[in-house]
Amino acid sequence: MKDIKARILLNRRIGLGYYKMSLDAPYIARTAKPGQFAQIKCSDSFEPLLRRPFSIHRVNRNIEILYETVGRGTEILSNKKEGDKIDVLGPLGNGFTLPRAMNGEPRAIIIAGGIGAAPLVYLAEELTKKKIKTIVLIGAKTKNLILCEKDFKKATPEVYVSTDDGTYGSQGFVSKLFHKILKTTESKFETIVYVCGPHEMLKCIADICQERKFECQVSLEEKMACGIGACLGCAVKTKSGNKLACKDGPIFNANELLW
């Protein structure tokens, strides 16, 4: 973990309200695991005051973040220019646990809802690098809000999309697509599910996983101040008491959470 003044190498709008930023932060790129995040100071002024947490979207020699403009912080971030420098603290959090040797040949199902795709591309890349069969399900409201389809397809051929309005892929929520995929694919494999997206979606996927006795790792998004376990602002209720999204998470085993 380091606090780095990183140069912005790229900051591009990639869709309706979605942006991709590339940052010159070799230390973080070298050390970050899928599912970890960085705390970024969007403004030099006191407005907004706190840093904002962003999932590490991809790493190469640099790190990439994928973000949606949802408020003052991300609004300011979206106006940053290439060459500007910003404070980036990372990598933070625990990251996803990749499958160990399981009874059957493991297969991973990645489920991304909306901007929830952000931490999952890097995960898909790492899983397929480990030769783990990986299926990706992407859910979006409508066709032009689908994120990372190409990036996922580079990692694995098995990428399925659903849109709420049916303008692309299957129609309906991604949980419906998940049901469908489970019906059509043989489950001779041990299955592990990785999911990131809106809270209701996480809960819905977690329930399906519980029924099927799949391990399910969810990436939670909470408001944070410090990002390093000092302020106790991002507490999450679990079966073993309060945990911190920033330090004990942001990845939690769905079974552990008190939803």
């Binding site: 606090d3 706190l50 408001k223 101040a225 410090c226 376990g229 000092a230 507490a235």
Partner: protein, 304 residues
């Protein structure tokens, strides 16, 4: 090089910059980001006798140039603190001040008695801005209760006692005097201001606890005024707290009368800020050819 050392009770600080309670965890959280031994003193997250779950979520909310928090003193209790946190804190090399809070005088007393036995603890900060013994208001809102809590702790320990005051009072000088009269070695001020924020679409409070404590740069002018008033009227050191974000803010508090300062919310934004402030103060003294930090303390120029 200018002399940065100051003294609070029996504690000799190599510089006047302290990490405020509740914003620095138990220091270990910052070990990879800060050279901890260079901080003037570290004040732990508040410890209570028994573990506390803390308040419901959400617990923090950003406001204009500030933030609200309602963590609710979540901590594992003193047993766990002494077993799990203290060994690391002892090795840091900066003075360690343990913040404590109790539901009643007895709890403050028991906590202080246990901490008194531990050599590597330099001092105790009494967080009396906690739910009061009578369950209405705060200890720090009542001169008599403040006096009694400090007095009880004073009886059991010779360690440096710092009493942390709340700004949510009409006469903070009166409370400070009560702490002084009861034997406190210093007062630290201010804790957070009661505040709240509402989501107008859902009409829900933005904090699970409905109200919380406001901190950050937005409170600095009020905190500064309180430090000024208190330091003029008592004879024990005042430790200035409230929205200190950089060395200039810290120096302002010291000119207003603070012998030392605490950095709180700024730690969340810039983990290395305490050390940066120390360096900034050094630079200021050099620029103004001031030999020792003590020369600026309370040295407010009010002549025309």
């Amino acid at each position: 090089m200018a002399e940065l050392g100051v003294k609070i009770g029996k504690i000799k600080l190599k510089n006047p910059v302290m990490a405020a309670s509740g914003t620095f965890g138990y220091a270990k959280e910052f070990e990879k980001l800060v050279n901890l031994k260079h901080i003037g003193a570290i004040i732990t997250k508040t410890i209570t006798l028994n573990p506390r779950q803390g308040n419901p979520m959400p617990r923090i909310c950003e406001t204009s140039a500030g933030m609200l928090n309602a963590i609710g003193l979540q901590n594992e209790g003193i047993d766990n603190f002494l077993k799990e946190k203290m060994p690391y804190l002892s090795k840091i090399g900066a003075p360690i001040i343990v913040s404590i809070s109790g539901n009643n005088i007895d709890e403050f007393f028991i906590l202080a008695r246990r901490l008194d036995k531990i050599k590597s603890i330099s001092g105790i900060e009494l967080n009396i801005s906690c739910p009061n013994i009578k369950c209405e208001g705060l200890v720090a809102q009542d001169t008599k209760e403040t006096y009694e809590v400090v007095k009880a702790v004073r009886k059991i320990t010779d360690k440096t006692i710092i009493t942390k005051l709340s700004p949510n009072v009409t006469d903070i000088v009166g409370i400070a005097k009560a702490a002084e009269n009861a034997g406190s070695d210093a007062v630290s001020l201010v804790n957070t201001f009661f505040g709240m924020a509402i989501d107008i679409d859902t009409r829900k409070p933005k904090l699970g606890n409905i109200t919380g404590g406001l901190s950050g740069p937005c409170i600095k002018p009020i905190a500064l005024r309180m430090v000024y008033e208190v330091s003029k009227n008592i004879n024990i050191p005042v430790i200035g707290i409230g929205g200190i974000m950089n060395a200039n803010d810290a120096i302002e508090f010291m000119i207003a009368g603070a012998v030392a300062i605490q950095v709180g919310t700024a730690n969340f934004i810039e983990p290395g800020v305490c050390i940066k402030i120390v360096k900034g103060i050094e630079g200021y003294l050099k620029k103004h050819k001031i030999e020792k930090i003590e020369d600026i303390i309370g040295n407010l120029n009010i002549k025309n």
